[in-house]
Symmetry: C2
Amino acid sequence: MVKITDVARHAGVSPSTVSYVLSGKRSISAGTRERVLASIAELGYRPHAGARALASSRSNVLALVIPLRSGIHVPVVMQIAVAAVTAARRHDHDVLLLTQEEGVEGLRRVADSALVDALIVMDVQMRDPRLPMLRELDRPSVLIGFPADADDLTCIDLDFRAAGEACAERLAGLGHRSIALIGSPPEVYARQTGYAQRVAEGFRAAVRRHGLTGEVYPCEATAEAARALVGRLLAERPGLTGVVVHNEPVMEPVVRAFGAAGRRVPDELSVVAICPEDLAEHADPPLTSVAVPADEVGRRSVELLMAKLGGERVPAATLLPPRLTARASDR
Amino acid sequence: MVKITDVARHAGVSPSTVSYVLSGKRSISAGTRERVLASIAELGYRPHAGARALASSRSNVLALVIPLRSGIHVPVVMQIAVAAVTAARRHDHDVLLLTQEEGVEGLRRVADSALVDALIVMDVQMRDPRLPMLRELDRPSVLIGFPADADDLTCIDLDFRAAGEACAERLAGLGHRSIALIGSPPEVYARQTGYAQRVAEGFRAAVRRHGLTGEVYPCEATAEAARALVGRLLAERPGLTGVVVHNEPVMEPVVRAFGAAGRRVPDELSVVAICPEDLAEHADPPLTSVAVPADEVGRRSVELLMAKLGGERVPAATLLPPRLTARASDR
DNA sequence: TTGAAAGCGCTAACAC
DNA sequence: GTGTTAGCGCTTTCAA
């Protein structure tokens, strides 16, 4: 193994000079830097991560806690993870993967052992058992999602309330008077995951503001459940002309079920979705939608952490504004 | 921060004794062990990961390289990742997430810096540019997938050839004489990802053995492509009564398109899939399928690595046998 | 069965 | 602008 003293000897400088060339923490004459870099390249030197972590008390590793729960769209999780890794690498950091299963204890473990410098926690619940620990931890963290009490915590997410509102507004603007929100599975509401409730809130607020008829219908994430719910809507809400869907797996089944019942999209029924861009684009017909900005959430979580690690102050809440893209599913 | 010397003092022993209690690498009297463990608990001691890695030249971290490519079913990747993390934790290891994007250089980086002890590489290509590096690396690795030349490498995957064969056998056993394989997108075949070709090989072998009519049709992973292909099959292969699908996103669209053309599944058309269990179970109708054993792949990859890290010899190839589960899509 | 002490490879304070 | 050196916290030989 090539170590820093080997490089130092080869370049005819001291180990600390090599270290400083690498870290940029003090100025080095052009000539010296050249020679050091040449030696590093020639010898194929890589600093030992453990030694570095020990000496500098920085591991350059971020923890990412991913959810395992049902009712969560897996590709979005994956997209956030990939975006986080990519962003972390740009800042010379790596990402350690933890599962929700590890719980509070897992967070404490990686933080206290100095395995990671900071943490990103996905799928935060309204009353999340991990919050007390995150607050008392000496390491920075970012939550993806907004708990009920976010004091002293840094949170980021799509502004789901505004998203629900934007979708209802869209339908109102197109002249629809009787609309519905097909939402997340009941268990997602039950465990008080904030985003589902916030979409519903925004939806209801817009309904009220425009004097519409509009209600919220939770739906299991299966095609069967979608068909059953559509049957119920056809019976209970004959005047229904607009639907907001916030539940990825049922989007297509809902459109098809309405179509099969003679309510073709978009001619006899307008549909607006809250989902990842690619799903909306490839649906049939392509769906007007508010994007879940997974890439941006992943990237900005990392950037918030890097800022905190750099001693900067960051906003406690980052609410990403919804962007609605019109496609072929409403009119 | 609590360190090992603090624990030692508190328990009235030397630091090395604390270390040995934790590692179990030498015998400790029951009384001493008790006292040490009590002190550890009382002080909330966690060994510093970097210090440990430096002194022991083991980081207890595994690298997992995940693919980003198109034509790959994301939930399967996620499932393998979660299974790997879970298995790694059982062996007191953590998992560092790398993206394909980091390429050969990324593997070298984490290995040479001693950030990780071993590597799991997903989505291995027939001629994968990373293979030479993995061979010369001083750290153990496991490939998920089989390259053309697997000498000196440890590989694991579902036996896709046997899976393709089992599906065709299933249809042959039910009396079907004219069958088809709807496979991965063309680009997956083009970049010589082994598994797509192996499914086709196995399928063709069974077709030959039973004297059937059977061909392979690559298909883009979109509903549009599925509909187009079904149209083509209806025209070109009027006698077709059995279909094997190995392409998750098009399974449902294929079934629906045949249904729309009056070829109801399973009465007028039998369908057998190669896909994750839950997708087959929740399809409409539930699909007879060979499972892609993502959990087992993730778990066993880790176990192979742990064995190699422990100095054991492991089999160069682990081919997981296909298990076909009969459901409601064939007869 | 236990302790003392020499590193592991790097960073950063201190000195010049 | 550069060198010297004392740790960082742990593991593991060597010794008893």
